[in-house]
Assembly symmetry: C2
Homo-oligomer: 697 residues x 2
């Protein structure tokens, strides 16, 4: 538990300075003026007192053991402060000082040193190179930010301190409130995973928003984020998504930016809501922190102007939400009091001369309808418009219909400024353009959808023969190889229930014939040699052979190998049953630096190279993940059966992907795995991994 | 010329009212208080004077013939007012009154009546159901909007009046200035095309922005927009893009919303910048109205915070712009005065303690570099930051480097509010989030790129045999058919230079043999009958025939036709040369309700149905259009030659698409045209439209 970080019983500020504007001064002043109720101990050998409180020459002289210690001294001094903190039983060290990993090799070494000292003494470390931490419930502002945020239910975690200060300033203007506010700095110890876990349990926080440039421990992130998003929404702005961005990151805080694709997938699988811009981060924070979760994506629009209504309707459809149908009954109710030429379809256009009374009537009647789960109230300031009174009516409806979403888009400038303030003060987010209102709503719906499928997002238990694969890998390693032979790869597949044809290795002509009889004709013969990768090119493959052709073909293949690849070690010739052609797909894995095995599925065949019709998910896969990744490809419409084509066995693909996921999760040494082709047959007839390549390390 | 609309010598206001809040009162008051210098004549039979000016009982009593007449009387009275306006030689009628097409059948008839009266009398009509017109240069506010916009160089044309009023109010708060401001209403006469053409010549306007729900005359729009965008940028927010939006449109102003795809293509081909949200519309207006056009997409970022710098760098790459490289020389200059641990790559991170002086130094040195064409200055308010002084330094640089783009992203709230006002007052747009600064810049770059290829965007002159096609179509019509026979379609193709195999119609067995000799074996025989569409299904096709197989095959085909399609009229059997298989593509046309023939190109073959790898452009095509549409498909990488594959003859596809475009442009009666497959051969060997289906109406 990180209570000592957010609500310590006492705080020491090492490097407390008497000079306003210096970090060590500002942090102390902020703690003192933020209403913090615990004991505060400034430490500075050059001062008797700072800001009217007694100052101590060293942490060792402080009269009690402080739970938290904020450090704002030059970087070279920090290790010795950490040692002293260890002696005083400090629980959390917040290092604001810069001059660590972000500044080069020397700094990185110093950072490691501090981490070692903290570990040894059981101290958790925030930073270094951070802004500090703010908790509005405690209350405590242990940061050098000049203002304390408004109290609210949004927790903000930023990897960038400067972005933090800008956001804080902006939040004061917009009236956005925070529960917790901290910058992670270099993440030498505490990182997004630790903080997320802590905030998941925080009763003052309804939504977590983050700015990240990378994650420290991708595999743990997958587990932590999955857990946290089940308790509260997590919204992340992840930068460094492009090459240019990633280069800028490494010159910034030295995070190794993983592949952006993997981040996208990681967020999708764990229910994290990813946003592309800082603007969206706050647009979403507003709606998530004030509105109930919608059961259904059924949206009603009430407007006094056609144009913005259309813009909202467009956005609703684009975002995959639904325009709530207006029932005959509701229409009858509305017609009673609305002008005849009003628009009674959704958007409900209550016309340019709509007063607050008319808004109130329409909004209440519409929210009473069970089919409507959310309402967007659009207002443009026209001659008869009453912005303030309309805002009051919207707020009233917001309070009357607790289980429905009510948000607003009052357009304009000074004429609506006051009304917007009224709305936002009363938990009705207002968006200056209707499209942004809709995008924010859509994020809520997506999050609810994610949660609704949560049981199908469990990692399934599959029966596999793990020992068998271990022993094959051991043999391969003993043989000093990294590539598995085709026969070995097929055995691995079978051990994990990945459907694949039986492949037997024949060392002699006679063995080939007897194996051919065993698997049943027609058969395929292929040269088996770790050095011959392109078997067809050297005449190492013979297809569709009857029993009487096996012996001759065996000899020919060995002859060809001898002729065209005389230096290769030949293990023999594999014999396998010739299989029917199915729909040609591919599957495989690739290891992402941050998150581990990334599983790929897509269309195979001659078009695979240039169409790139593929989708990705990170291992371990849930059934839902596997289904989603199949569904994302265009090939899905081929598999599902279009234009009279037969439906393919999609369930068998799902199962195969789950088993591939289990395999690469169980064996970290698998570096690459490629199934090409994966033949898929008609529904009920399964699929077959015809060719499997596995590389270990 | 629409001078009487924007700068009339005199104006009559019919329906001038003494009651404040009534439209007829507000329009008159706005004209009088806007500084309008011409004569103003209120018309109202019930009043002696309104707002202190003499009022006339009827338009017929006004002492001079007014150039413009604003009408704000109940709809049923409008036709008689139009008649009176005709008698008084009025040049422009601005009908504000509602109750026309938007209100149902009766209104639509009334609207037609007014249009007829205006046409007869040579009067141009704005509206009905509009907000009116504002010109800040004249100056004149002949609208019922409550405020007059700030004078500026942005012309705003809105199909929605209410959106217009909201935008006006918003613009006053944000300090955005307009040259002209009008709402189109029902567009009974004057529409976006007329107004665009007029504004193209307006010296007070630098950029045109529009909100549209549809266009009235799509073909004219293509011509007009192409012309106007060469003179000034045109930015359009087009709503009704989705089904829901389109339904809302038709219940709003009754515009028939064309397919959104066609709008997308129309905007692309004419150089119109399309935006998706109202926010973008104004973001772009700001940068286009204040900045020079960039020659190159080379952007420098100067920032005092890493995080926002990364966000900007990400956005730059995502938007296809380029991060300007920092030359060794520039780096040397920068190092002289910047702290050692500053970031000298782009983004140039001048660190959290950057003063205005440091910003000034870095920005000036960077803008002096020839490789840099644009700069984005990012500022977050930190302890040492001087927002106002930094804003002044940015404005100074803006003025010193007239040929470069300088925009800002000062993040935060109250701490930067004043600085932002300073920036915007001095033509430096500020964006509250760096991503929006980059998007706006990207739009400028795309517009410049469009203009730079303008000569290749001419419609080429192609030599074709138009008479030949006319005569074929005449024959088909005489035959009471809508589908062309294969032999006819091939003749049409040949007349327009679309490469296609020679197809000859044989009516007898002997004719078939002699035609086979003529085209040379191997040949293909196909049944020719207007009723038999799926020829293969009834055994009506024989492939790859040698000369001695022709006679027998001819008989078999006729037998099959007799057996399986006994009621079909059989014209004979076509004889054509068997051709080599090429890369399988498709091309075709479809008629869009708004813009006319929409040309399609894409991947053919078995995957065509579910991969939908196709692109579209509207006829007539320029060479650049054709190239772009080929380049947009994924099949392009196949054609270009990937992974050792040979390059295909892309030029021959371009030429074919141009010829298809010419054909469907010349002949309006072509309803559908499908080339499937279009075989494409290796570079230099052309392509071949193997099967062409043409339907006329």
């Amino acid at each position: 538990m990180l209570t000592p970080l957010f609500n310590p019983s006492s705080v020491a500020v090492v490097g407390a300075s008497r000079t306003a504007g210096k970090v060590g001064h500002d942090v102390l002043r902020n703690i003192l003026t933020s209403g913090y109720g615990g004991k505060v101990y400034p430490v500075n050998p050059q001062a008797e007192e700072v800001l009217g409180i007694r100052c101590y020459p060293s942490l060792l002289n402080v009269p009690e053991n402080p739970e938290m210690c904020v450090v704002a001294v030059p970087a070279p001094v920090v290790p010795s402060i950490a040692e002293e903190a260890g002696k005083r039983g400090v629980k959390v060290l917040v290092v604001i000082s810069a001059g660590f990993k972000e500044s080069g090799i020397e700094g990185a070494e110093r950072e490691s040193q501090v981490v070692r000292i903290c570990k040894k003494n059981g101290i958790r470390l925030l930073g270094p190179n951070c802004l500090g931490v703010i908790d509005t419930a405690t209350p405590m502002n242990a940061s050098f930010a000049s203002a304390i945020p408004i109290k609210g239910n949004v927790a903000f975690i930023s990897q960038s301190g400067a972005l933090g200060t800008a956001v804080l300033d902006w939040s004061l203007k917009e009236g956005v409130g925070f529960s917790k506010f901290l910058s992670l700095g270099n993440k030498a110890d505490l990182n997004e995973n630790d903080i997320m876990l802590e905030i998941a349990e925080d009763i003052n926080t309804k939504v977590v928003i983050m700015y990240l440039e990378g994650v420290e421990d991708g595999r743990r992130f997958l587990i932590v984020a999955r857990k946290v998003t089940q308790k509260k929404p997590v919204i992340i702005l992840k930068s460094g998504v492009t090459d240019a961005g990633a280069r800028a990151v490494s010159s910034h805080t030295g995070t190794l930016a993983g592949s952006d694709l993997a981040f996208d997938v990681a967020f999708k699988q764990t229910g994290v809501i990813r946003v592309d811009t800082a603007q969206e981060l706050f647009d979403l924070a507003e709606v998530f922190s004030t509105q109930p979760f919608p059961k259904d994506p059924m949206v009603a629009i009430i407007t006094n102007a056609g144009g913005p209504g259309i813009l909202a309707a467009d956005a609703i459809e684009k975002q995959g939400l639904r325009i709530a149908p207006i029932s005959a009954e509701l229409r009858k109710t509305l017609i009673e009091k609305l002008p005849l030429n009003a628009g009674f379809n959704n958007p409900v256009d209550i016309l340019g001369d709509a007063t607050a009374e008319r808004y109130k009537f329409a909004l209440n009647k519409i929210l009473m309808d069970e089919a409507v789960t959310s309402a967007i109230v659009i207002l443009t300031p026209q001659a008869m418009t009453q912005p303030d009174e309309t805002a009051a009516a919207v707020v009233e409806a917001r309070n009357a219909f607790q289980n429905k979403i009510v948000i607003a888009s009052f357009l304009g400038g000074e004429l609506v400024d006051n009304a917007i303030k009224l709305l936002e003060k009363s938990k009705v987010p207002n968006y200056p353009f209707p499209e942004r209102a809709v995008s924010s709503l859509a994020a809520m719906v997506r999050y609810t959808e994610y949660l609704s499928a949560i049981t199908r997002r469990q990692i399934p238990h599959l029966k596999v023969d793990r020992d068998k694969v271990s022993s094959i890998f051991k043999d391969v390693k003993k043989d000093m190889r990294v590539n598995l032979l085709a026969s070995e790869a097929m055995e691995v597949a079978k051990a994990y229930g990945i459907p694949s044809p039986t492949v037997k290795l024949a060392r002699t002509r006679e063995e080939a014939v007897s194996l051919a009889e065993e698997v049943g004709p027609p058969v395929v013969l292929k040269i088996e040699s770790p050095q011959i990768l392109h078997k067809t090119d050297i005449g190492g493959v013979k297809l569709n052979l009857n029993l009487d052709a096996v012996a001759k073909s065996f000899d020919e293949i060995l002859d060809n190998a001898h002729k065209y690849a005389s230096k290769a070690t030949v293990y023999g010739v594999t014999v396998q049953k010739m299989v029917h052609q199915g729909k040609e797909m591919i599957a495989g894995i690739h290891r992402d630096v941050t998150f581990g095995p990334l599983i790929m599925f897509g269309l195979g065949g001659i078009f695979a190279n240039f169409l790139r019709d593929v989708s990705f998910r990170l291992a371990p896969l849930s059934r839902k993940d596997a289904e989603e990744m199949i569904g994302e490809t265009k090939a899905y419409s081929l598999l599902r059966g279009v234009r009279g084509e037969e439906k393919s066995d999609i369930d068998s693909i799902t199962d195969t992907l789950l088993r591939v996921s289990k395999l690469v999760t169980d064996f970290d040494e698998i570096n690459e795995l490629d199934i090409n082709p994966l033949f898929v047959y008609k529904d009920g007839s399964g699929c077959l991994a015809l060719d499997i390549k596995i590389t270990i390390r």
